[in-house]
Symmetry: C5
């Protein structure tokens, strides 16, 4: 799963049936040191993530294997909020 930061949100009135009522967040990939890279994209939030939080995102068919995304036309879902990351025995990120 990619490491990503929640950087914003999206509003969409006209959307595919099974997406109605889903929370659409804008996320961007992040390094373990919480530096952003790549272009933002939209992921469905399944864990109550908030803006600024570091999360991990399941992509592809795996994004549909949560209670709120089952069988929906979803290819990216936030499936966990990161408390901390350790790289080579050093803490590179800790949630405040």
């Amino acid at each position: 799963m990619i490491i990503a930061r929640v950087v914003g949100s999206a509003v969409s009135t006209v959307k595919e049936g099974k997406l109605v009522g889903r929370k659409l967040l804008v996320v961007q990939k992040a390094t373990p040191e919480n530096k952003l890279y790549g272009e933002p994209f939209i992921a469905v939030d399944t864990v109550g993530a908030g803006e600024g939080e570091l999360v991990f995102v399941a992509e592809g068919s795996s994004a549909r294997l949560t209670e709120s995304t089952l069988d929906a036309a979803v290819d990216a879902a936030i499936v966990g909020i990161l408390d901390s990351l350790e790289l080579n025995k050093q803490t590179t990120f800790r949630k405040e």
Copy 2:
């Protein structure tokens, strides 16, 4: 789901059986500020999107999880039209 703008359309007479009658649009990835990047590709429209609109696109097997693409050889489907995008509490895009 990637953020994309509808930039054109495609006509194809000879196509795989289940694609007959599907609306084929040309889309291109866009930043939350609605700037285009990457190379255009073809997505099936499932929500009545029009040229110039900012949409989001489901890719891979998730593109088949809409009523009009079910079990079709489709790997990209427009599944929502974006009304607005907010990044770091700033509105970066609003549909006119």
Copy 3:
């Protein structure tokens, strides 16, 4: 689906069971203006495409959702031949 041009063909005697008898073409991604980019790869033809034609290719599991690729170890299939492409109301490609 990506826009691609048929640039050649492949011959393979020793191949996985379900691929026997499939037509293997070499394709390369193309812009809506029919300019090639990226590296060539192999796709199964399901629509009778010929060399030089501009086509669109379904990738991943969607490549298996045609009559001739069902349940085969195929991750790219030509699923349509392009007649024309229009970008920002301008025709960028028309089949001769």
Copy 4:
């Protein structure tokens, strides 16, 4: 499967139901000579891999085809620990 090195670990209290109890490691792609490249990401460990080890990672839906990841929202799983790699008849990596 990509060749990757285990470079760290992740802690996540709030995560999707089926991910509870899974060991989340931070991995980074590596060449056959064990040089790192690309950005780190998170994979579920299914084979008892340890930090510093060279492993191979299954991505996409294949990451769910292990006993501990079945039907979970997982798109990357460590499925093997590498003992050695040989390139052009030369050993480029051997586990210590």
Copy 5:
């Protein structure tokens, strides 16, 4: 399917159950002129490919649609050995 050359092999004692007994080869993407590019990765051989041979590789869920990879945590499988490739009516590769 991508065009690739078999450049080496991998040994792994500790691996996921269904991978036991599978032949793990190291492959690298190749152009139709048999020039290597990209970083090497690991693919399961399903056709008896040998080092130095030009092959084509199915990725993603399609890699599991062979007799020896069915339902295994495999995201890349060699599914054919290339005899020859033709580009723009010119033979760019012929197996010796």
